[in-house]
């Protein structure tokens, strides 16, 4: 469904991603792990078109999307839960969701009823401004907003960042539920246990290079590698 092949991505003059390749099949959950600054967010930004790679190619549903503007990817069914949530502060919770439903021009977006049934807290805060929410509520809104666009692939960039353990567990249950529904997900995480609990395949990035790919169980057994690349 999503194929990243040998991409090299730069921020100005600094070469961040070196020859990164990864695959995400329909219905699969792939976790991308690594320390701070390993290039995880840059990989997401390369795929969604925020920072197009200078070399290599990315295909989505068989079409080459390297360097395509982000809005065309949203129309094709790519959803983003970005790092830092990036909730629109001058829109209410409900406006954030309604905008997402309409903006991508897709028919399979989650309805407000379904979103509110899944995230009851968002219904309570429907008329609140996007940034009056707590961190956990904002994260739920960021996930709900991406689902409202009707994605076939969901890119999640550190959904557990800065959240209390109880909320992290809730995010974990949410991801497991989405996985059961067959949504393909690329999950970037610092929270290794959370990622391993839902992932079918794990990639580990170090200094912009893929240093491991395989089943989560293999990574779990290899404590030397976890120590070296993940610091756990």
């Amino acid at each position: 469904m999503l194929k990243v092949r040998n991409i090299h991505t730069y921020y100005g003059g600094s070469h961040v991603l070196h020859d990164v390749s990864l695959d995400l099949e329909a219905g699969q959950t792939v976790a991308l792990l690594g320390r701070n600054g390993a290039g995880k967010t840059t990989t997401i930004n390369s795929i969604i078109g925020f920072v197009p790679p200078r070399a290599g190619s990315i295909t989505f549903k068989g079409a080459t999307i390297t360097g395509a503007p982000p809005y065309t990817l949203a129309h094709m069914g790519m959803g983003l839960v970005p790092q830092g949530r990036r909730i629109f502060s001058s829109l209410t919770v409900e406006e954030n969701l309604r905008l997402a439903q309409r903006a991508a021009g897709r028919r399979n977006g989650w309805s407000l009823e379904r979103i509110y049934a899944t995230f009851p807290v968002l219904q309570e805060r429907a008329k609140s401004g996007g940034t009056q929410l707590s961190g956990g509520e904002q994260q739920m809104l960021a996930i709900a907003r991406a689902l409202a666009t009707g994605p076939d692939v969901l890119l999640l960039d550190e959904p557990s960042e800065g959240l209390a353990p109880l909320i992290v567990a809730e995010v974990g249950r949410m991801l497991a539920a989405l996985k059961r529904e067959g949504l393909a997900m690329l999950l970037v995480e610092q929270h290794v246990a959370l990622a391993i609990s839902v992932a079918d395949v794990v990639y580990v990035l170090n200094k912009g290079q893929i240093v491991f790919s395989g089943a989560p169980a293999i990574l779990q057994q290899n404590s030397a590698m976890r120590q070296q690349y993940l610091g756990v």
Binding site: Y71, L80, A104
Partner: protein, 292 residues
């Protein structure tokens, strides 16, 4: 100042404020959404006034000018956005400022060669050229009409921005254009729409002002500077900010000229400097937001 002159000046202040709002609203939205300081905005205002002048002369109808001049100027705005500005979004502010400043200079030269350097004026359209007496004071009907018209446009813009899907797209784009794009919003098209809308509003202001203020070369930069002051005071990308700051600047200008003629320019800039010192993000900007 007697009560009578106070009321008259208040009316003049409202008229000037609302004309200023028409111009500053577009400048502020373009600035807030596209992160482009559009220094050609004053030229679009003056172009609107001149095109309106020609339409009024050809057709004899001020109303046709009020309708068609903004549309024509918006088309020119679209061309400028599509073929010049769009190439520069990824560059720094300096490139954009140089580009829009250059566009302003070119438009000013074109206007000089087409309409000459005379001071032009437009007659007040027939049904609105009288006066009405309210509470013993005579008020020019056209000025009252400009106040009503300006308030209606302000209300319409507010409804557009706060109550429609396109308005939500614009607000989302002002907050975080990159994230808005990731949700599927066609940002280049939204930018073009807002730029064209902003230039149309500036031109509308130019036509509406032409029966009151004269039309002359150099008016473009005078108006641009006042509109920039409004945007600084109100905060980037907020319609409410542009509205209230237009009232502040318009009133300061009119009352400054009446009460302290030697210091009238000083009054406007003192307010701006004060706002910059106390609330550098502007009076109505809620917080610093991320722009792509």
């Amino acid at each position: 100042m007697t009560l009578d002159t106070f009321v008259i000046q208040l009316t003049n202040g409202l008229v000037f404020s609302l004309l200023l709002f028409l111009i500053a609203a577009g400048l502020s939205l373009i600035f807030g959404l596209m992160d482009v300081v559009n220094l050609s905005h004053g030229a679009f205002y003056l172009l609107g006034a001149y095109v309106g002048l020609s339409i009024t002369r050809w057709t004899g109808s001020f109303w046709l000018a009020l309708l068609f001049s903004p549309l024509l100027v918006a088309v020119i705005g679209l061309v400028v956005e599509r073929f010049l500005l769009r190439q520069l979004y990824r560059r720094g502010h300096l490139d954009q400022v140089l580009c829009t400043f250059g566009v302003g200079l070119i438009l000013a030269d074109v206007m000089r060669s087409v309409w000459g350097s005379y001071v032009e004026s437009v007659a007040i359209p027939a049904p609105l050229d009288g006066q009405i007496v309210i509470g013993g004071l005579p008020f020019p009907v056209y000025r009252l009409a400009v106040i009503v018209f300006g308030l209606l446009i302000a209300l319409g813009l507010w409804l557009l921005i706060e109550r429609t899907l396109v308005g939500a797209m614009i607000r989302a784009g002002v907050n975080d254009a990159q994230m808005a794009s990731a949700l599927g919003i066609n940002i280049p098209r939204l930018f073009a729409l807002v730029f064209a809308g902003g230039t149309a509003l500036a031109a509308l202001g130019g036509v509406a002002a032409s029966p009151i203020l004269n039309i002359y070369q150099g008016l473009d930069s005078e108006i641009l500077i006042l509109a920039l002051v409004v945007v600084v005071i109100g905060g980037l990308g907020t319609l409410q900010g542009a509205f209230w700051a237009s009232l502040i600047v318009g009133m300061a200008d009119v009352f400054g000229k009446a009460l302290l003629p030697e210091f009238s320019v000083f009054v406007t800039y003192a307010i701006m400097a004060g706002v910059l010192l106390v609330r550098p993000q502007g009076l109505f900007r809620r917080e610093q937001t991320r722009l792509a």
